[in-house]
């Protein structure tokens, strides 16, 4: 009872008989992932949105007051990395919106 794709080539990596081993391997790792993702990747609760807007205003004010000159290079690099990660979420959203991984399947 192997999936159809296995009948054409051998050795076949998709044996159903290896499924329980795969599940046993991934269960604890999924648990760790879920443990961190519940806190770190969770969307903002409605109560956090005003806090986010406040931090945005504070950021704008700090740029205006010239605190930019006191940034260390390390802090600037860290902020740059965080900004890059936020930008990558846009591309992931685009993948979801165009319903294809690479290119537009028109």
């Amino acid at each position: 009872a192997e999936p159809a794709v296995c009948r054409r080539r051998s050795p076949c990596p998709l044996l159903l008989s290896s499924l329980p081993a795969a599940v046993a391997y991934s269960k604890p790792r999924l648990a760790t992932f879920w443990y961190y993702a519940k806190v770190e990747l969770a969307p903002p609760t409605p109560g956090e949105i005003p806090k986010a807007i406040d931090s945005m205003k504070a950021m704008v004010r700090s740029f205006q007051s010239g605190r930019l000159a006191q940034l260390t290079v390390r802090e600037a690099l860290r902020n740059g990395l965080v900004a890059t990660e936020v930008l990558m979420w846009f591309y992931i959203g685009e993948i979801i919106g165009k319903r294809g991984l690479i290119g537009y399947n028109v």
Binding site: V39, A52, E94
Partner: protein, 71 residues
């Protein structure tokens, strides 16, 4: 295990709004590109038909005009 990091609400908010904006952008661009691609495919199919017609005529002419006793 080390406890998970408390992400600042600003970062969470911008992440998920970037995700939403990306989804909308992808959908809009897909809807824009789809009719253009269909139009191109239609034009390509027509041109192909015309080309094949011309080739067929040329082939028939060539076959009719070559005379050889080896046929």
């Amino acid at each position: 295990m080390i406890p998970p990091v408390q992400v600042s609400p600003l970062i969470k908010f911008t992440r998920y709004s970037a995700l939403l904006v990306g989804m909308i952008y992808g959908k809009k661009r897909y809807d824009y590109l789809k009719p253009i691609a269909e139009e191109e495919r239609r034009i390509e199919a027509e041109e192909k038909k015309k080309r094949e017609e011309l080739e067929r005529i040329a082939k028939e002419l060539a076959e009719a005009s070559e005379d050889s006793i080896l046929k």
